[in-house]
Amino acid sequence: MPPIDPIEPVNMTPVNYENWGKLVKTWATGEDYIQNGHKYPVPKTLDEVKRQLRAANTGLELPARIQHLQVVVGRSDTLLLRLPPPDLVKASEKRLETKDYSLPPFYNDHYGTAAPELPDKTARMKFHAQRIGDYSIANCQ
């Protein structure tokens, strides 16, 4: 597998997090949270993922490096350790050596303020570890 471009993880950012979240909730619960006439079964192929991403207006495009699909259904009595890809962790660390951490803009809308710039690399690495710690164990809160 070729090395990851340090900026490539940005390409996995949904444009509309709300619609993306509704799609995930639809897959998780079987209830239709989107309600725009399309069907959203848990996808079995990447092509099916891409079709549903467009139909749900998420604005999320999968980068070319994505070649496989793995769906894991969580259980409330099982610790699901969702480990991020090691090459992407390293790519993010490399990017954070020079660039600021970028939070999704919807946080600004809800909390009424822009996130302050992190002062240095040490602060960025600390925040990076905290964020990975958060989303690797969080269960849809």
Binding site: V15, Q35, G37, R51, A55, N57, P105, A114
Partner: protein, 560 residues
């Protein structure tokens, strides 16, 4: 076939009220008031009058908007239109139409139809009302006091970028202020935010790019004003008159330059050359030489929507290599009061937006076609009108056009083909209804799994397409997306050249811009003439003139 039941009220009056057929205040129809058969319809019914037709329309437009709403990431750029023109167009559009309520959002019953917000309140197009508002008297917040006693105001108010040194070159953002009576992030009660844009038309702060185009024209005004000697000690009345004359010359000269740029730069880039040739001359061949006042709905809510397809996903801006359109749309006083005035990195280097000699290529806009960037789907930017509607701008554009009672594409093509047979002879889409329908049906059916459009829906939309969609479709087919096609060009030219012709300034006449500027000075200032008149024909020229007059040629952050 229309659906039974309603999927929401019609913003232009329900079935019981019979809807509204007359033009809305401040608007008109091109080629006069259409009869019912000449208006956009859904299976032969007017969706403003029939809940069933409205429900069918909504379902079909959801499908069409979904097809239009996610442009592929590898879509082609348009070398004919650097990105700055996207925002110049938006600025010019704001100078032609102003409603405080979008058509799709107008509410339900007949009373909503008469709501003041539905009217177009901008009665004098292309006179930079969007920049000046009512001038210093009506919009004093947009101007700085001429002296410590604040007896008059003449210069536009600009803000220094955040953390800037106290030098004239630092004033690169529009005026912004804290919002009184609020807390914290909007800047009230000693907070740091700047929640108020101090400009005459707050729409011009919708994006960080449009606000800087606005600021550029404010700088132009200030540069021209700076060439006219300020009155010294005079009796009160004479001082008032001299101040008013100075402002009037700077204002009208700025408007003359704006109009010169429209004629010499923007419109030539947008229009089909043969269409432009009919209009761009001292006696333009208008189809409606005696048209009354008002903006044609077919232009404001039909043809002019094409600019939404020009938006890029990402831009090189100042210190950013890949600022997203979502970032661009969020950076304003309303959404991000804590992020303004702009930081140094967001201050525009104009060579990134217009082609300046000897500079690297700018950001280009995207080729015109029936596809909008997915960035417009961003959270909170353009939310669905109703649950189940797509987010984004495409659905709103299509709904507004379809519910305005505008002329149908077929009616427009038939009228233009009859009046302009030479144009029709080279445009099968314009002249041949069957060919037009077949081409549209082919495109509309290309991804039925995504659009959920049944064959009868495709046939209906192909026979009577919403005008904003058709204009983009035509541009892609006839001009490879580099400029508008035949019908789009005629509608834009008829509107823009019509306004320029009918709404002449007092100084306009024989001899071009130089002569007009001389006449302007003579009318207000006697023998005084501008020592360095802004003889500007295009945006690169305007940027370079402002840089020269305001000493910004070598400014940091870079201006050119």
């Amino acid at each position: 076939m229309t659906e039974s039941g309603s999927a929401g009220a019609c913003p232009f009056g329900g079935a019981a009220a019979g809807g509204r057929s007359a033009p809305l205040p401040g608007f008109r129809h091109i080629f006069g008031e259409p009869v019912p058969a000449e208006r956009f319809q859904v299976d032969g019914e007017d969706p403003r009058h029939s809940p069933a037709a409205l429900a069918t329309l909504r379902r079909r437009l959801r499908g069409l908007a979904t097809l239009m709403g996610a442009r592929p990431a590898d879509a082609a750029e348009n070398p004919n239109l650097p990105s700055g023109y996207t925002y110049l167009l938006q600025f010019a559009a704001h100078d032609m139409v102003s409603t405080s309520m979008a058509f799709w959002a107008a509410g339900g019953g007949p009373a909503d139809m008469a709501a003041p917000g539905i009217a177009n309140t901008l009665g004098a197009p292309l006179r930079l009302r969007t920049l000046y508002g009512g001038g210093p008297g009506a919009c004093p917040f947009a101007f700085v006091p001429d002296d410590a006693r604040d007896q008059s105001r003449s210069r536009f108010r600009l803000s220094a970028y955040a953390g800037a040194p106290d030098t004239p070159a630092s004033f690169r953002d529009i005026g912004r202020a804290a919002t009184p009576g609020t807390l914290g992030n909007r800047g009230g009660f000693a907070g740091a935010g700047r929640g108020e844009a101090l400009i005459a038309d707050s729409r011009n702060d919708q994006t960080v790019l449009l606000s800087q185009v606005t600021g550029l024209f404010q700088m132009l005004h200030n540069a021209i004003l700076g060439m006219i000697p300020a009155p010294t000690t005079l009796p009160a009345r004479a001082l008032r008159e001299a101040t008013a004359a100075r402002f009037a010359v700077a204002q009208e000269a700025t408007i003359l330059v704006f109009r010169s740029v429209l004629r010499g730069d923007l419109l030539p880039r947008l229009l089909d050359p043969e269409v432009r040739a009919l209009y761009d001359n001292p006696a333009p061949e208008l189809l409606e030489p005696g048209a009354g006042p008002g903006m044609p709905l077919e232009a404001s809510h039909g043809a002019f929507r094409f600019a939404h397809a020009m938006l890029r996903d990402r831009y090189q801006i100042g210190g950013f290599e890949d600022a997203t359109l979502v970032d661009v749309l969020r950076l304003n006083s309303s959404r991000s009061p804590n992020s303004v005035p702009l930081s140094r990195d967001w201050v525009l280097r104009w060579s990134q937006f217009f082609s300046l000699p000897g500079r690297p290529a700018p950001n280009f806009s995207m080729r015109l076609g029936p596809r909008y960037t997915a960035m417009l789907l961003g959270d909170g930017l353009f939310d669905p009108i109703e649950a189940g509607d797509p987010a984004g701008v495409a659905f709103r554009d299509l709904m507004s056009a379809s519910l305005s009672g505008m002329r149908s594409v077929a009616s427009l093509c038939e009228r233009v083909a009859r009046a302009r047979p030479v144009l029709a002879a080279r445009s099968p889409l314009l002249a041949d209804a069957a060919a037009r329908r077949a081409a549209l049906a082919d495109w509309l059916a290309h991804d039925a799994d995504l659009s959920l459009l049944a064959p009868e829906d495709v046939a209906a939309l192909a026979a009577d397409p919403p005008l904003p969609f058709y204009i983009l479709f035509e541009a892609e087919r006839e001009a490879a997306g580099e400029r508008l096609g035949t019908l789009g060009s005629v509608l834009v030219a008829e509107t823009a050249y019509g306004a320029l012709t009918r709404e002449r300034l007092a100084s306009e006449g024989e001899g071009g811009l130089a002569a007009a500027l001389d006449r302007l000075c003579a009318a207000w200032l006697g023998d005084f003439r501008l020592p360095d008149p802004p003889l500007v024909q295009d945006m690169p020229g305007l940027v370079e003139f402002v840089a020269r007059r305001l000493d910004l040629t070598a400014a940091q952050p870079a201006f050119l």
